[in-house]
């Protein structure tokens, strides 16, 4: 069995029993103790012993697995990429303390010389893996006995733990029982499961919220926006105009002869007609417009695309034309029509939703008086309102 001599003989001062609290120049060895390489590997499966020339003497069992080959005798620069914590010999000028006066200089430990490099005992040092550039090991190094014995490093995977476990197919036995690696891996997996559940819960809640929202904002029969959704959208458009946003128009549609269909052919026919109407409105309005059913046979279009009275007129005529095409329900012909009243937001100097709707209403009334099946625009002076 091979051994690593852990220290020089205890200094003479007999008072110091444990070594704790002793000064930097007074660091007693474990009295008369030698540790086997196997023992050290059990404590630190990722240990690395370097000689004073920077050559690898021994490595722990897990580190050996990671390196994938026998590296004894190789210079450390061949196997590792020297990272932070190392300085070329004579370095550490950049370390805080070294530039800040003698007192702090004193507080720094003496650098350990390892081949062409120096490292500070007890401080973090980093070594990348030459063969796996994305994995960097974090460690700490301590001197072994006299200078001639070299140094002992203990390394860990740090944040690269999961990658390393996968890459090198590590198992429970590759970690010291004191290592928290297993807890970390366990936690990572448990948290991922918990997160998955939470994500699922959030998705389900979001779907339920969206469904509840749709239910509150749409007309159950036709799927068009309901009065509530219309008022909300109108309010936003009004506020938009007040803040310099685009003008818009409202077109109030009242079906003609719908009551007759309902009364003579029944509610099923009436519902059928309403579904046809909503389909026509959906098809004839443009993206950005909103079609709402606001009463039994009453609809309002919120026209938010660029407002052009000529285009609106043409659109209402197309809609009326399609409404007037007779449809057959259970073998019987249904005939309806529709009357429009349109008001433009630009017609009001002080825009108010109520007044705009009243203007559209008045225009609709004029369409009805004029014999139905037509479209009227609110007068410019808005006196009707």
């Amino acid at each position: 069995m091979s051994y690593i001599r852990t220290g020089i003989a205890r200094p003479e001062s007999g008072e110091d029993q444990g070594g704790l609290g002793s000064g930097p120049r007074h660091d007693p060895a474990l009295a008369g103790v030698t540790l086997s390489v196997k023992g050290i590997a059990q404590l630190m499966p990722m240990f690395l012993r370097l000689d004073r020339d920077g050559r690898i003497v021994e490595v722990g069992s897990t580190l050996e697995k990671v390196l994938g080959e026998n590296v004894s005798g190789q210079p450390m620069e061949k196997v590792f990429r020297v990272g932070r914590g190392w300085a070329p010999n004579g370095g550490f000028r950049g370390e805080p303390g070294h530039t800040m006066g003698d007192a702090q200089f004193e507080a720094l430990p003496d650098p350990l010389r390892i081949g062409d490099w120096s490292a500070l005992p007890g401080r973090r040092v980093y070594l990348g893996l030459t063969r796996h550039p994305d994995i960097q090991l974090r460690g700490v190094c301590v001197p072994l006995g006299s200078d001639a014995d070299g140094v002992l490093l203990n390394l860990s995977f740090g944040i690269h733990l999961s990658d390393a476990v996968r890459r090198f197919a590590l198992s429970d036995a590759d970690f010291a029982p004191t290592d928290l690696a297993m807890e970390l891996l366990y936690l990572q997996e448990a948290k991922a499961a918990v997160l998955g559940e939470l994500r699922g819960l959030t998705t389900r809640l979001e779907a339920a919220r969206a469904a509840a929202h749709d239910k509150a904002m749409t007309d159950a029969l036709t799927g068009l926006a309901n009065r509530r959704a219309f008022d909300f959208a109108l309010g936003r458009s009004v506020a938009g105009v007040r803040h310099g946003g685009a003008p818009f128009a409202v077109a109030h549609l009242d079906l003609d002869h719908f009551k007759a269909v309902n009364d003579t052919l029944g509610h099923a026919a009436g519902d059928f007609i309403l579904e046809q109407v909503s389909r026509i409105l959906r098809e004839e309005t443009r993206q950005g417009d909103l079609a709402a059913r606001v009463g039994g046979d009453e609809f309002i279009l919120l026209l938010r695309s660029p407002v052009d009275p000529g285009a609106i007129e043409a659109m209402t005529q197309r809609i009326i034309g399609r409404l007037e095409r007779p449809v057959t329900f259970e073998g019987r012909e249904c005939r309806i029509s529709g009357s429009f009243g349109v008001a433009l937001s630009s017609q009001l100097e002080v825009l108010e939703a109520e007044r705009l709707l009243a203007m559209a209403d008045a225009a609709l009334y004029r369409s009805k008086s004029a014999g139905r099946g037509c479209c009227s625009f609110a007068g410019d002076n808005a006196l009707e309102a």
Binding site: K191, A192, L201
Partner: protein
């Protein structure tokens, strides 16, 4: 009761006995058939009613049903993996059992599992005293330990006893590595399993 436990029972009933049985249990218990959300909390009485309803519908003693639940839990891949983090072999796994509630708390601070008091009597004899808020955890643990013995490939005799005062499980480990058991890689499988 933590939703995770209730949802586990729901999944157990659904996966072991079919959707129809679960729906019948849900109706008996007064639950929506959608069931539980794993990250919410529910009244303890709901859990008890659900187990009672399932035992009655399957005409199976409550304890036997709970043992099956334990075995089922150990077969759910995500959970099996978490359990396997307990130790490299069944021996280590047994010895880490009293850390199990603590481990669960690391992942879910509000998950209340029963207290597990492990005694090692030498010669491969272990006894585990299970004390939970709800009686029956002993049966669940017995089922789980049996399934995990198979998973590790260990040969063990596991007996369970409810004296009324305490629920105790006696484990006699005859051989820790009797078969190869099921494989377990420390690294998380690359392809995530879809949540149940």
């Amino acid at each position: 009761m933590h939703g995770l436990i209730n949802k586990s029972i729901q999944c157990f009933l659904r996966d072991s006995y079919g959707t129809a049985l679960w729906e019948a249990v849900a109706r008996e218990t007064g639950l929506d058939t959608v069931g539980f959300e794993a990250m919410l909390h529910y009244d303890d009485a709901v859990t008890e009613r659900m187990i009672g309803a399932a035992a009655a519908l399957k005409n199976r003693p409550r304890a036997a049903l709970l043992e099956d639940l334990g075995a089922y839990l150990a077969s759910v891949e995500g959970l099996r993996r978490l359990l396997r983090f307990g130790g490299g072999d069944y021996w280590d796994f047994l010895r880490s059992l009293d850390e199990l509630p603590g481990r669960s708390l690391m992942a879910l601070v509000d998950l209340e599992l029963p207290e597990l008091d492990l005694r090692e009597d030498g010669g491969g004899h272990f006894s585990l005293v299970v004390s939970g808020k709800v009686p029956g955890w002993g049966a669940v643990m017995a089922g789980l330990l049996r399934a995990m013995a198979d998973d590790y490939g260990a040969l063990a005799v596991i007996e369970w006893e409810d004296s009324g005062r305490e629920e105790r499980i006696d484990v006699t480990l005859l051989e820790a590595r009797y078969t190869d058991g099921r494989s377990f890689e420390l690294a998380r499988p690359q392809r995530e399993e879809a949540p149940a």
